[in-house]
């Protein structure tokens, strides 16, 4: 097994309109490590995640499980990096939940005979009933859609999970379910979030991003307790870490 799941060196990315989204990012994530990316809106968190499977390609190098993104093995890298988008409506584009979950395995050339069982397992793992298999995703509640989007990624059995604001717009119960679900997964985790309590409960390591740069990288509890650091980057110390 490779020591590092993700190795990013001097990554820079500028959007076509000229906005500099990432400026000289260096980040190494060990296999099995759980890292939270926090920072204000527009910090570059989502842009960074989109570089993990080559959807965006900036200057610099990105290596996933030892393989360079520009090495021509993009198909294998996309199988290894499961990307869950902020808005499940962006991710669920097939007519039924079943087809959405099966979309990844079909593209990755997994034998057709294996796919229904894998889809069923993924739906079970995220707590979606089998009756939802043939429902259209616009029949689902937001919480169910988020779970279906998760299932669509888990079915590919990725080694690395990249989650972009997974708890955004979720009610407390669905948020708790989602945190439990992610907490029980063995994959290396990169979590871009504004939900600092979730970052604290799921990740040992925290990376503070702002204006396309990394400003702090270290123990999640220590960094989240640093009120000055939090304030400087538009964040707040989570309630659970505030002195009473």
């Amino acid at each position: 097994m490779t020591e590092y799941a993700v190795r990013i060196t001097r990554l820079q990315y500028t959007y076509p309109d000229g906005t500099k989204a990432l400026e000289g990012i260096d980040l190494d994530v060990r296999t099995g490590e759980r890292v939270a990316l926090v920072g204000p809106s527009g910090a570059g968190k989502s842009t960074l995640l989109l570089h993990l499977n080559g959807v965006l390609t900036g200057a610099g190098t990105v290596r996933i499980l030892g393989k360079a993104l520009d090495g021509g093995d993009l198909r294998e890298i996309r199988r290894q990096v499961g990307m869950v988008f902020q808005d499940p409506n962006d991710q669920l584009f097939c007519p039924t939940v079943f087809e959405d979950v099966a979309f990844g395995p079909l593209n990755l050339g997994i034998p057709q005979g294996e796919i229904p069982a894998r889809v069923d397992k993924a739906l079970r793992d995220v707590g979606l009933e089998q009756s939802m298999r043939y429902r259209s995703s616009h029949h689902l509640s937001l919480g169910e859609r988020k779970r279906a989007a998760f299932a669509a990624v888990l079915v590919m059995e990725p080694a690395i999970l990249a989650l972009d604001e997974p708890t955004g717009n979720l009610d407390p119960r669905n948020r708790r379910h989602l945190i439990e679900l992610v907490g029980g997964l063995p994959a290396t985790l990169l979590l871009a979030t504004h939900d600092l309590e979730m970052a604290l409960s799921l990740c040992q390591r925290l990376v503070v991003m702002d204006r396309g740069k990394i400003w702090a990288d270290g123990d999640a509890r220590a960094l989240l307790s640093d009120s000055r650091l939090m304030e400087e980057h538009g964040l707040e110390v989570p309630l659970s870490l505030r002195g009473h």
Binding site: F93, P95, F103, L106, Y134, S136
Partner: protein, 238 residues
């Protein structure tokens, strides 16, 4: 928000639901074609097709009230199109009643087709019948994202209404509508970008692979043969 889905009753389990989507697409297309080709002044042929449509509706288990309600939504547009016909000299009323009968029967048949086949299966059937991949894909996206766009429009309207007292002047209203449409277009464009990124993330190379659950059975040729026989009888015996 509650949506009105075109395949609301497609999850039922009637003999018509069990047929392959290709069979239904072919059968209903031919049947609608036959109805549209019935010449004016042939009431027995219309009666025969009406009987067949009623029988299909009964077999399908799709509620009559639903079919009638859906038909009534679209029928006024047909009436509007044929409004001038009765004033034609001679065969005006015959032409008008023919138009009305053809449209009503075709609409009911289309409602039956979409409510006995899941939209996904219809698309799959279209693909297998030779419909270009890009067209089927776009139809799928249109159906999937129509509801998302509708919700976005509703939210924009609510936001507008929350900040407005009374009604605006028509000119101001048009200006506002224009900017709302522009915003909607930009948002749709951005969503399309994110969707494409999500597709790439799951290994897509632009194609839409299919996992087909339903296959042809003895019912399919039997249905098509029965339909063909009925159309032949309606054409030549009435």
């Amino acid at each position: 928000m509650k949506h009105s889905f075109i395949d609301r009753y497609a999850a039922l389990d009637s003999p018509l639901h069990l047929l392959d989507a290709r069979t239904k697409l072919l059968g209903f297309t031919v049947l609608i074609g036959a109805v549209l080709l019935v010449p004016p002044g042939k009431p027995f042929a219309f009666f025969a097709y009406f009987f067949l449509t009623a029988a299909l509706m009964g077999i399908s288990q799709v509620p009559l009230t639903f079919v009638v309600a859906r038909t009534l939504v679209i029928l006024p547009f047909v009436l509007l199109a044929g409004l001038a016909l009765p004033w034609r000299t001679g065969d005006g009323w015959t032409l008008f009643s023919t138009l009305l009968l053809r449209s009503t029967l075709s609409l009911i048949l289309l409602i039956l087709l979409t409510n006995t086949t899941r939209f996904a299966e219809l698309l799959r059937g279209l693909r297998k019948l030779g419909c270009p991949r890009i067209l089927a894909m776009n139809l799928g996206f249109l159906y999937r994202y129509l509801f998302v766009l509708t919700e976005e429009v509703m939210r924009m309207r609510q936001a507008r209404d929350c900040r407005r007292v009374g009604s605006a002047r028509p000119r101001a209203e048009m200006k506002l509508l224009g900017s709302m449409l522009g915003t909607l277009l930009l948002r749709s464009f951005e969503r399309a970008e994110r969707m494409y990124q999500a597709m790439l993330s799951r290994g897509s190379s632009g194609d839409f692979p299919i996992l087909a659950p339903r296959r042809f059975s003895w019912r399919d040729p039997a249905f098509l043969a029965g339909l063909g026989l009925f159309i032949w009888m309606a054409e030549f015996l009435t």
